[in-house]
Amino acid sequence: MSKHSGWKATTVAVSWGLVALAALVAVLARAESHATLYGDHVQCEQGQTGAGEKCRIDLFLTRGFRAFSQCQVCHGLDGNGSSFAPSLVETLREIDKDRFMEVVANGYKGQIGVMPGWKQNPNVMKYVDNLYLYLLARSDGAIPPGKIERYDR
């Protein structure tokens, strides 16, 4: 496989190439199916090295990133978790969209602590679909952590 194609999702699957082949295939399939969800919102340059680098996003995913700012204080600046809330990058590999929507709206109390519900917070709920796809793209490694430049302005 070429190290870099236009689809970063594929690239990431490659960088995970250390895992067993079966797992790799599964991840690939998953990431590629996700890519159809957020692919329209991501543009990556060809021929760059490193997962998810030199990618740009549109306003849709930028809004997801902004909504994510409400999560940073607990889930870590990069969403990789902190001493009191789990990594969202990992969690998004484990839960489906329904669970995500339920948890973000209503919150829950779990083994680690309390996840607040956001249903009264317009800064999150107006953009919850954006947020979901942003985090999904992050967890697939299709886009890097931190601020990503926009291509649509």
Partner: protein, 601 residues
């Protein structure tokens, strides 16, 4: 063992005598260096002890005397209070308190409040608590859910409790209260929820409210006299706060008060700082946003403000001004001064005249600081660098490579002052950020952030090839210069201790308790405790032996900033990728570790 240098005796004499009219009992306790009866060791917040049994000659022989698990996993800030034969220690949420018998380390009593877990999600950055206060046979605990309680110090029984705020509006508490005379003072947290900051004084007898003074709003709310209260030597004038906000934005304007309080009995003034204005998007709140980001000096009895100094007018970076105020009588530029020294989040170390509020020194205590070139000593205003102004950059624009990051060149972790060396010992962060403000809607009780951030080691900006996230420095507050600096891989997020043994002690995020030479910074001893340290190092004497105690228990903001820049190599930082995330060094868990010298050392 408590033979102190002559200079020290003289120094202690001048400061101590003035304190005669504070709460007599607490004053006496803090004057006996066998005790650690207040968060800062003394009312001046110096975190200095005259004990010298442990000193530069023998610190290398230190050993663990005993340990105590708090049974709580969240970030453990603050430190123990110790007097007589008892040690009192607190925990993060659910805010347990233990009274421990020093003779055999048995638990005299334990207090565990029932608090609504709904409080947790409205605490922005972990459920920390910074400790207790004592006076009049009572232990004061400021719970997370804003309940301030007075416990019987002998039995742990609840004597009174009072609601200091409303978690439904995003109001919570993390600060340590302080007692002066017959009142206990506390603040409020929730700057990320549009909470309007205040300091409240409650009567220690029954918890009734004596006064409450806001950081912003109408003059009557702020306990100011437009003609008498000064800033930069001039009366602040009428409506000094209202004029600096658009419309009623001050009502949800932040300026919260979650830091430490100091007290000067001679002047009868309490000192503390106010936090960031909300939201983090500066574009929507034109003006200086007074009196956020301000050092405040208030009359301890009435709350009336004597002077204000706003360090960061119109904040654009979240540089809360809440860090501790250290009161010390030092020479400044050849003149003896009753000084107040403050290491702000914004990266400037300020030396003020604490009587008048005159600005004496304002210098960067981390050379990486770049958001301002300097502080204009006539106006007191920082000279902001346009390219690091997130307001001038504007909404939806990513302003890059600002130093320091939002967590500041230093956060709440209090510094120490040694009158023997005349130096301040400061745990610092060495982290920079990208910051993009955007528009948010305000809903009561909901977080109200309004900016996306990323953080990384300052070396990425300075280009000096370093990738450390912290330094522990010795600072000369007279000249505003760093005397020595110890590079730490992670932010130094633990309160420091200085002693007459000419040692300085602090903790690290990996969990080391480090003891260094106060003059040179040379490492004398280190021990890896159970978890990362964000607590304060305190010292006391019991049965003729000096002990050093510190809380471990990683967490807080420190645990959030940490992942930044340390995972992988995406920023092209090379060596940074070599650093493993903090999780590789340490795990959660609150433990008090107590150190002592072996017999005959």
């Amino acid at each position: 063992m408590r033979k102190s240098a002559l200079t020290l005796a003289v120094f202690a004499g001048t400061i101590a005598s003035g304190f005669a009219n504070a709460n007599q009992e607490v004053m006496k306790l803090t004057q006996d260096s066998a005790n650690w009866a207040i968060w800062g060791g003394n009312y001046a917040g110096q975190r200095y002890s005259e004990l010298n049994q442990i000193n530069t000659g023998n610190a290398k022989k230190l050993q663990v005397a005993w340990t105590f698990s708090t049974g709580v996993l969240r970030g453990h800030e603050g430190g123990p209070l110790v007097f007589g034969d008892t040690l009192y220690i607190h925990t993060p949420f659910p805010n347990k308190v233990f009274s421990i018998n020093l003779a055999d380390q048995t638990i005299n009593w334990k207090y565990e409040p029932k608090q609504n877990p709904d409080t947790i999600p409205v605490m922005c950055c972990d459920t920390v608590n910074r400790g207790l206060a004592y006076a009049d046979g009572k232990i004061f605990l400021q719970q997370a859910d804003t309940t301030l309680v007075a416990l019987d110090s002998k039995t742990g029984k609840l004597i009174w409790s009072v609601k200091n705020g409303d978690p439904k509006k995003g109001e919570t508490n993390t600060n340590a209260p302080i007692v002066v005379k017959d009142k206990v003072y506390t603040g409020i947290s929730g700057g990320e929820f549009g909470v309007r900051g205040f300091v409240a004084a409650y009567n220690i007898k029954d918890g009734s409210l004596a006064w409450k003074c806001y950081s912003m709003g109408p003059d009557s709310d702020m306990c100011v006299d437009p003609n008498q209260t000064t800033a930069m030597g001039k009366p602040i004038g009428k409506d000094s706060s209202l004029k600096t906000w658009k419309g009623d934005q001050w009502k949800i304007g932040g300026g919260t008060t979650w830091g430490w309080f100091s007290y000067d009995a001679d002047l009868n003034l309490i000192y503390y700082g106010s936090g960031n204005p909300s939201t983090w998007n500066p574009v929507v709140r034109p003006g200086d946003n007074k009196w956020s980001m301000t050092i405040m000096a208030r009359d301890a009895d009435s709350g009336m403000a004597k002077w204000f100094y706003q360090m960061t007018p119109h904040d654009e970076w979240d540089y809360d001004g809440i860090n501790e105020m250290i009161l010390a009588d030092i020479d400044v530029k050849g003149q003896k001064r009753q000084a107040l020294v403050h290491f702000d989040r914004n990266g400037f170390g300020y030396t003020m005249d604490r009587v008048t509020g005159e600005l004496l020194v304002a210098e960067k205590f981390d050379p990486a600081v770049n958001w301002a070139t300097h502080v204009d000593m006539t106006t007191g205003r920082p000279q902001v660098v346009a390219k690091y102004s997130t307001g001038q950059g504007g909404e939806d624009v990513n302003t890059k490579n600002i130093c320091p990051a939002a967590l500041g060149s230093k956060d709440q972790q209090p510094a120490a002052f040694s009158p023997r060396t005349g130096l301040f010992y400061v745990p610092t962060n060495h982290v920079c950020m990208d910051y993009e403000p955007f528009r948010v809607e305000y809903v009561a009780g909901q977080p109200y952030v309004g900016a996306t951030l990323s953080m990384f080691p300052a070396g990425k900006v300075t280009g000096d090839g370093t990738n450390n996230l912290g330094n522990f420095i010795a600072w000369d507050a007279s000249s505003g210069k760093i005397k020595w600096s110890i590079s730490e891989p992670f932010s130094a997020w633990s309160g420091a201790l200085a002693t007459a043994g000419d040692i300085v002690a602090y903790g690290t995020l990996e969990g080391y308790l480090k003891v260094v030479d106060a003059k040179s910074g040379k490492e004398l001893y280190k021990f890896k405790t159970a978890s990362g340290i964000i607590g304060n190092v305190n010292t006391w004497e019991y049965n003729g032996k000096q002990y050093i105690g510190v809380l471990s228990g990683v967490g807080g903001w420190a645990g959030i900033g940490m992942a930044a820049g340390l995972e992988g190599d995406t920023e092209g930082l090379g060596a940074v990728g070599a650093y493993k995330a903090l999780a590789k060094h340490t795990q959660l868990g609150g433990v008090l570790t107590v150190f002592v010298l072996p017999d005959g050392a």
